[in-house]
Amino acid sequence: MMIRPHRNHPLWLAFMLHRVSGLALALFLPAHFYVLSLALRHSARLDTFLRWTDMPMVKFAEFGLVFLLAVHVFGGLRLLALEFLPWSNRQKAMAAGAVAVAFLISGTFFLQAI
């Protein structure tokens, strides 16, 4: 199957990464909010859940979630700059920079978590 030309462009990948990360975060939020809402009346259940999150695989999944959040934030800042600030030709560099900063932040989180 031939990939359509525009889908070979690095900024199409940036667009898709922004969309997929946003959708994943939107799907994650209800679970995140539900778990935190246990704090007031069911703190023992919350502690049971939090102990489950000490598992290495869960820590790795959290690293992935923090990466998705960070790449959505920094990729989003690139889009806001693209739309509201004077045009810059360095869009690919900024998109790559957003991914790099997201890796740095999520990697820092992971190293603090383990």
Partner: protein, 109 residues
């Protein structure tokens, strides 16, 4: 006209959320050191008006932002239009607001 207003609201909610999301990331990196527990979370947030306002504003902005984003995906990828499309947007927005504000109340009350 509705699409233009939603487009601007999406950008406005993003501008509100940018500093809140960066603050949230900083809090996560700080709080995760040494593991987290219900007691540890509550000791930081319970009775705090500041954290209540911070995370309350975050939940409102993210509910609007996520609802508009999911609505765009539903329209472009699933081809939804009209009432079903509006229903998806409102469901995501109201649902996230309800459980999100409950969560904020639970940890800051």
């Amino acid at each position: 006209m509705l699409d233009l207003r939603l487009y601007m609201l999406q950008r406005l909610s993003a501008l509100v959320m940018a500093p809140l999301a960066l603050g949230h990331i900083a809090v996560m990196i700080y709080a995760v050191q040494g593991g987290i527990s219900a007691g540890e979370i509550l000791s930081r947030t319970e009775g705090s008006v500041g954290w209540g306002l911070f995370y309350g504003a975050f939940v409102v902005a993210v509910s609007i932002h996520a609802a508009i984003g999911v609505r765009v995906i539903a329209a472009e990828t699933l081809g939804l239009r009209g009432v079903p499309l509006a229903a998806v947007g409102w469901l995501v927005c109201v649902g996230l607001l309800a459980i999100g504000l409950t969560a904020v109340f639970s940890v800051t009350a």
